[in-house]
């Protein structure tokens, strides 16, 4: 059973005359007693507490395995446990990916009460990433763990393609935050491709998408984590500036390339020693140009999304309802729309709705500018990072991309030497 059932006994109190009662309350003469109806109440507190404890414990295990032990075995164990427990047993809600939206909503809307448990689910992986790198992604996240477990071989994708695709998580994150801040939809939850697999049922389109992603991840490591995950995008920022940084080996790189070949997310960057050096002036000029472009791209992004906020606001229920009412009024002959009928039955007035719609559109305008600015800024920042002069002399981990899966540990011959 998912939840332990505790039965709530309803207190049989003297009933006041029901306002709507068309038929009088029966006068029983046979001594009939009203049945004692019980409804099972949720027992989530226990499970939520356990989730948080397990989250910390699993991230600690991965941090120990990546920094101290340098072994993949423990990380693999955590992955299997995560898929079974967080995935198939707990059915994946609330997860850290989705909690971004709750947090954004809590920051922008004071009427929303953020549960403490959701705050911890959001904040703990960020803190661990800041301290030890992306240990949450390694195997604690059931979505990453599931892709990791089916991964067999890694075909390298062209760096230009992966760089271009890596902007998608940021666009996804920006829109998720926009829709969460305006209380429209939680698109990260809605479009989660693996939830249907964990729950063994759900939207057929999304399950198909999830299966396709899993088939891709047999040959390309973690396509969802690399090119879609919005929380991974956030964690990559904290991973790149983490306090303690993971190393493939503590015994010194011998440039054997083996770690580069085994890495599922292409996070091991080759040394630049043998590359043809670019003319310094040319490089500096390009970098300067990108620095000038950064504010321009930010502005352009803000203007682009901000000017389209009207169209985006259709995702909000009230705006959608307003559109439906307009549609119904324009075509009186069409079948009555359920939403419009409910609107009329509830006695809401058109002026009230119009005021609400305007408020929503105003919010969409403000947060649309911010979301667009974020996308533009990330685009500019990625261009700058791509054109910064490299100084690598050995194979090094790109800590923003590295998901701490630990595959490279077993491949590194230096680590083998240590064990013997």
């Amino acid at each position: 059973m998912k939840k332990i059932l505790v039965f709530l006994t309803l207190v049989l109190s003297q009933l006041q005359a029901w306002a709507e009662a068309r038929f009088p309350k029966p006068d029983f003469t046979s001594g009939y007693q009203y049945p004692d109806i019980q409804h099972p109440v949720p027992y989530e507190q226990f499970w939520n507490g356990l989730d948080v404890v397990l989250l910390v414990a699993m991230m600690s295990v991965v941090a120990w395995a990546t920094h101290k032990k340098q072994s993949r075995k423990a990380i693999f164990g955590v992955s299997v446990f995560s898929v079974l427990y967080f995935g198939f047993y707990r059915n994946g809600c609330v997860c850290s990916l989705g909690s971004v939206q709750n947090v954004v909503l809590a920051l922008t809307d004071h009427t929303y009460h953020l549960p403490l448990y959701v705050l911890l689910i959001f904040l703990l992986p960020v803190i661990f990433t800041f301290l030890f790198g992306r240990v949450f992604c390694a195997g604690v996240c059931p979505l990453g763990a599931l892709q990791e477990l089916v991964n067999v071989k890694n075909f390298r994708i062209n760096k230009a393609v992966t760089s271009a695709l890596s902007i998608i998580p940021w666009i996804y994150l920006a829109f998720a935050m926009l829709y969460a801040a305006t209380r429209s939809q939680f698109i990260i939850c809605r479009l989660d491709p693996f939830i249907g697999i964990f729950r063994l049922g759900g939207d057929i389109g999304l399950i198909t998408f999830g299966v396709i992603l899993l088939l891709i991840s047999v040959f390309v490591g973690r396509p969802f984590c690399q090119f879609l995950c919005p929380y991974g995008a956030l964690l990559s920022v904290f991973g790149s500036v983490s306090v303690k940084k993971m190393e493939v080996t503590h015994k010194g790189c011998i440039d054997c390339k083996l770690c580069h070949h085994c890495c599922p997310v292409d996070a091991l960057r080759p040394p630049y020693a043998n590359q043809v050096k670019e003319d310094r002036l040319k490089g500096v000029k390009r970098l300067l140009m990108y620095f000038i472009m950064l504010p321009l791209l930010t502005l352009a992004g803000a203007l682009f999304v901000g000017s389209n906020s009207q169209a985006l606001s259709r995702a909000h229920k009230d705006v959608h309802l307003y559109d439906l009412i307009q549609l119904q009024e324009a075509n009186p002959d069409m079948d009555p729309i359920l939403e419009v009928t409910a609107f009329n039955e509830m006695g809401r007035t058109m002026e009230e709705l119009e005021a609400q719609v305007q408020e929503v559109q105003q919010k969409f305008r403000i947060y649309g500018y911010l979301a667009g600015a974020l996308i533009g800024f990330v685009l500019g920042f990625k261009l700058i990072r791509l054109s910064v002069k490299r100084t690598r002399k050995t194979y090094e981990i790109d800590h923003a991309a590295c998901v701490a899966c630990g595959k490279c540990f077993d491949y590194c011959p230096q680590n083998l030497k240590k064990n013997q």
Binding site: Y34, N91, V94, N102, P115, F186, E339, T341
Partner: protein, 192 residues
Amino acid sequence: MAEDKNIKKSPMSRREFLRKCGSALAGGSILATGGVLATKAKGSSSDLFWQIDPTMCTQCGRCETECVLPVSAVKCFHANKVCGYCDLCGGYYRPSVKDLNTAAENLMCPTGAITRKFVEEPYFEYTIDENLCNGCGKCVKGCTSFGNGSLFLQIQQDLCLNCNECKISRVCVSGAIQRVPYEAAYKLKDHA
């Protein structure tokens, strides 16, 4: 050689400085966000569970089909203390019923989840079998239009997966599905 060293040394120290700045910024932002949110976060009293407000529900029928579960977590609940215990029940029989018997064409519930028991002349006690109920809301509509409105749709908490965003709430025509705190785990009709 000396020139070579200079070129190598200067970008490294700058990078080191920028990286330190980044770490400080990231650490600071965690503390700031955590601090702000910690003041807003509520413990067990926060709104975590999904419930239907029975006064807003219009029985549109979407609860039956939109839930992520194969059989909806929305079930029909019965408030006995609101019920009139009628023989001709708007939730039990179809509106056009001629003979008050249990022939399938006379009954409202498509899954046979409503059973009734004779109490005394002329009263009948109605009971919902939650294992059979699919949350279609046909009986609720019948009871609301011809009856006391003692039947109502509600989300059964032991079945509900407690999705971060309830899929039914997204399509609910009247916005009746809302988050409630633990203390209000059930919005019932007979003890308000």
